[in-house]
């Protein structure tokens, strides 16, 4: 049996270590193909006929213990499962998989033992463990409790895990620790720096007078300062060193060089004052520790402010239920951990409780508050057969529903994942800041040295002191963080803010484009109108009765999924008309349907289609015009070449459509409606909604062409549609809005998904986007101005005019507050309201 394993060895930091690691492994019997990579701190090797324990022992003996590894793939035993080299992609894992967090597993043999134990549980079809994140996935019918028991029986620990929760908690815990450490470092540094500053401000001398008690006292202060720099500022120096070794420079580099230079200069003044002119024997210990104190304070404040920026995600995570009430086949009920819920499980939700997972209602009826997902304030009625979504709240009755999507597959989990991803995306507006921040630190270092040399060569006495102050101040005042944070912080808050209103912005680019639109193209059906048309008129001709016309129409439309077809079927059902026997259906996309009926050909469709077929519909001209005037759609029925009826179907416009269109106008947007309906119907709807331009009688496939035509005219076009039928047009637009998707968030063709059905969502999304882009601009302008003005001032450009130089301590304070300002400005977006509260209902 041959096993390939990879070990991570944290202590292997150089080529010498790599040689020692190789030397420790080569003598071992059965070990071959050793590939040592010091840069990646990894060793890949094959083991024949022995346990990896011998390898680990040999490495530990050599002083290079592996890090909770090895990760391996047994080439004979179970190649299709286990291990990090062939992880089971989580997105391909079946929806009924159970995920468990495993403790105590450290090596490939543990993985095999755990997989074997899981596979032996009755009902398990497939089990796979990933040592990388200490989790196991199990597919099959076994209950999670049985799986946990099986793992515990072989000496390991297991628990059902809800991933995002634990990760979020872990992140919060780590950030809290970091926050406390930063605060401690702040007080420690300011604790020493403040008395020194006070001494200086109240007239105490900061000069070293050689040979006296002054030199000894300053030496003591210097050593104290060093201790504080190491404890409170050590992380800057470590970061700077590590970055430098990797030919990289970051904020730590600037702080470490700035404070280090101030300290070194001061120590030279203390230990070897004769090297400096008498007036230049100044110490700057207070500056080095005050800077470290202020920067740590700024980082702590930034961390706290960032916590607020991520509240949208926290709120979404908070929507998730932690338990669900399982209903067993015998009718008994039990509360179970949410992570143990699998698809197919029957669950009960009582009044006031959250719905735990996505599912379909089996029994009961209630009203469900879905506003947290869709932004729609009105509760939605639910009864048997309806879908319910995780995170929504059952308001009244008790429901029993069957879980259809659990864990990361629920709409809520997908929304969280989508928002998280979008929060990290970058609109093009931030590109310049990205390019600048990528080279910022080395450029600032060059400027700092240049400024110091200028002071040293042409500055007044004491030249050395001025040069040192200029160097330190330039390094410290420069703030790459403000530049780097300007765009992402606003995007994070803006995208989160939108999500709270049921608006999912997929990428940063969509956010930016949405703020620059000139034209909104609205699909008619389901976008401007309710999307649930009903039959308003039935006219019959050529000796056919109205009932028979409607019955034949229903028979023809029976297989259709068009909304108009549902209206016809509904009307026939309401009147209890008999089902007619038709066959050989042919659907003509965008035209109509035909089928065989009693030896002839029956057709239902639009006027143009019938005209193309040479059917005379002049008898229905007046009736059809009457329907169209009322914004209804006339459906023409023909038997062979004879017109036999016209059915009027009308789809009411949404109650708030006109108000939403008015808001679009108020933003200076042109509003266009696009529809396959006849012109008269389309214009009637357009008039009701206040549309500027109506494009009617468009085949579904041609909608994208019309969007393209508008773009070719120079318009920045948004297309608003249902995301499925309108997908090509949505993709063609500058920004596609999928509207009324409910909890279906996986609409790839749309840059922005509106889970609610109101057109106000479109305007809200544009408003949030505009506010976010405005916020980004403010941040970018502020960050650029800060650096563009701050660096020259720090270099002493104002000295010839004012005779004053910036203190490095003030530079430290300014620097620490600059990034806090950016984060705080981004946080202002949290209070942005797309429309006044009174309009929300």
């Amino acid at each position: 049996m041959s096993t390939q394993i990879r070990l991570i060895i944290p202590a292997m930091t150089c080529a010498g270590c790599a040689r020692k690691v190789r030397a420790a492994l080569e003598p071992l019997a059965g070990v071959s193909e050793i590939v040592v990579d010091a840069a990646a701190k990894t060793v890949d090797l094959h083991i024949d006929g022995q346990d990896s324990a011998a390898v680990i022992a040999a490495l530990e003996q050599a002083g290079y213990p592996p890090d909770a590894m090895p990760i391996g793939t047994d080439s004979e035993a179970a190649p299709e499962s286990c291990s990090m080299d062939d992880p089971l992609p989580s997105d391909q894992f079946p929806v009924d998989g159970v995920r468990l967090a495993i403790t105590g597993a450290t090596c490939a043999s543990c993985v095999r033992s755990i997989e074997t134990a899981l596979s032996s549980v009755p009902g398990v079809e497939r089990a796979s463990m990933n040592l990388a994140d200490h989790s196991a996935y199990v597919q099959g019918a076994a209950k999670p409790e049985q799986l946990i028991a099986a793992i515990e029986a072989i000496g390991y620990g297991a628990s059902a895990t809800a991933d995002d929760d634990s990760l979020e908690q872990e992140r919060e815990r780590s950030e809290q620790q970091l926050y406390r450490r930063l605060l401690r470092d702040t007080w420690l540094a300011l604790g020493l720096g403040a008395p020194l500053m006070a001494w200086m401000l109240f007239g105490g001398s900061m000069m070293v007078h050689g040979g006296g008690i002054s030199q000894l006292v300053w030496l003591l202060v210097g050593l104290l300062t060093l201790a504080v720099l190491v404890i409170a500022g050590g992380h800057f120096f470590v970061g700077a060193w590590k970055a430098a070794v990797h030919h990289n420079a970051n904020m730590d580099t600037l702080i470490a060089i700035g404070t280090g230079t101030a300290w070194l200069y001061s120590m030279v003044a203390v230990l070897a004052p004769s090297l400096l002119p008498e007036q230049a024997r100044h110490v700057y210990f207070e500056a080095s520790v005050m800077i470290v104190g202020f920067i740590n304070m700024g980082l702590a404040l930034e961390l706290r402010a960032r916590g607020r920026s991520g509240q949208a995600i926290k709120r979404l995570l908070g929507l998730r239920a932690t338990t669900a009430r399982r209903v067993d086949d015998d009718g008994s009920e039990e509360d179970v951990d949410i992570a143990l819920v699998v698809t197919g499980m029957r669950l009960r939700v009582r009044p006031g409780e959250k719905i735990a997972v996505d599912g379909v209602v089996e029994s009961g009826s209630t009203l469900v508050d879905e506003s947290m997902l869709t932004g729609e304030p009105m509760p939605v009625s639910k009864q048997a057969g309806d879908m319910v979504s995780a995170g929504t709240i059952n308001q009244q009755g008790s429901l029993i529903y069957r879980a259809t999507r659990v864990g990361k597959d629920t709409a809520l989990a997908q929304i969280i994942a989508l928002v998280k991803k979008a929060q990290g995306s970058r609109p093009p507006i931030g590109r310049l800041a990205d390019q600048v921040s990528a080279v910022f630190v080395p450029v600032v270092m060059l400027v700092a040295i240049g400024a110091a040399l200028a002071w040293f060569n042409v500055g007044p006495e004491p030249r050395a002191s001025y040069a040192m102050v200029a160097l330190t101040t330039v390094l410290i005042i420069a703030c790459p963080c403000a530049l780097g944070l300007a765009t992402p912080m606003s995007v994070m808050v803006g995208v989160g803010k939108a999500a709270e209103s049921g608006i999912l912005i997929r990428q940063g680019a969509a956010l930016q484009t949405a703020s620059q639109l000139t034209t909104i193209v609205l699909d008619k059906t389901g976008t401007i109108t309710q999307g649930k048309p009903s039959v308003t008129d039935v006219f019959s001709y050529a000796d056919w009765s109205r009932d028979k016309v409607l019955a034949l129409a229903a028979a023809l439309e029976n297989a259709s999924e068009h909304p108009l077809a549902f209206a016809v079927l509904e009307a026939a059902k309401e009147q209890s008309l008999p089902a007619l026997d038709v066959s050989d259906f042919i659907a003509e996309n965008g035209k109509g349907v035909q089928a065989s009926y009693q030896g002839g050909v029956a057709r239902i469709g639009n006027l143009r289609w019938l005209a193309d077929l040479g059917i005379d519909a002049s008898a229905a001209t007046a009736d059809a015009a009457g329907i169209a005037e009322q914004a209804g759609t006339p459906l023409f029925l023909a038997m062979d070449k004879t017109l036999i009826g016209v059915i009027g179907v009308r789809d009411q416009i949404k109650t708030d459509a006109r108000a939403a269109v008015a808001r679009m106008h108020a933003r200076g947007l042109k509003v266009v409606m696009i529809t396959g309906d006849v012109r008269s119907t389309a214009e009637a709807i357009g008039k009701q909604a206040g549309i500027d331009e109506v494009i009617a009688e468009v085949l579904p496939a041609d909608k994208a062409l019309h969007v393209r035509a508008l773009r070719d005219k120079g318009e920045r076009v948004a297309m608003v549609g249902d995301g499925i039928n309108d997908a090509p047009a949505l993709a063609e637009a500058d920004v596609g809005f999928a509207i009324g998707t409910g909890t279906d968030v996986a609409i790839e063709s749309a840059g922005i998904t509106l889970m609610g059905g109101s057109l106000h969502g479109v305007v809200d999304a544009i408003a949030v986007s505009s506010a976010t882009v405005r916020n980004i601009r403010q941040n970018l302008v502020g960050a650029f101005l800060y650096n563009v003005l701050g660096i020259p001032v720090a270099a002493g450009l104002l000295y010839p005019v004012t005779g004053m130089m910036f203190s490095p301590v003030i530079a430290g304070l300014a620097m620490s507050l600059s990034s806090v300002t950016v984060v705080s400005n981004a946080n202002r977006l949290r209070f942005f309201q797309a429309r006044p509260a009174k309009e929300m209902v």
């Binding site: 780590s174 970091l178 990797h246 904020m251 990205d434 040399l453």
Partner: protein, 120 residues
């Protein structure tokens, strides 16, 4: 004399900065033959920060973020539309699709962490 020394030292430092941070060409890159590469995020650097990968082959970046500071939270890969939030002290897989030859920068939100994926 001291003026000359200080100026010489300053100019040397400037040249060193230009060479060290811009002109220096990395000699050694970590290769992703196995299709998976582990990246450690700590102390302001990605380790490794330079990765070679064959064109037309998907790559998995297995990222271990040890730095709790928010700077390190996101890893962004330019040109691939990748922006992933990294959990702390856990390995996190980022799947990159098969790529065209070229250089793909990866970095944190603030561009303080930087690395390059060379595909060819």
């Amino acid at each position: 004399m001291s003026t000359v020394l200080v100026n010489a030292a300053g100019l040397a430092a400037m040249m060193m900065i230009v060479w060290w941070f811009w002109l220096w060409t990395p000699r050694k890159a970590v290769n992703t033959k196995a299709g998976i590469i582990e990246i450690r995020v700590a102390n302001g650097t990605y380790s490794p920060a330079l990765i070679d990968s064959p064109a037309g082959q998907p790559v998995t970046l297995r990222v271990l973020r040890e730095d709790a500071s928010p700077c390190a939270e996101y890893l962004i890969v330019d040109g691939l539309g990748i922006n992933e939030a990294l959990p702390i002290d856990r390995r996190h897989d980022i799947e990159l699709p098969a790529m065209e030859p070229g250089e793909y920068r990866f970095h944190c939100q603030m561009n303080m962490y930087q690395g390059v994926l060379r595909v060819g």
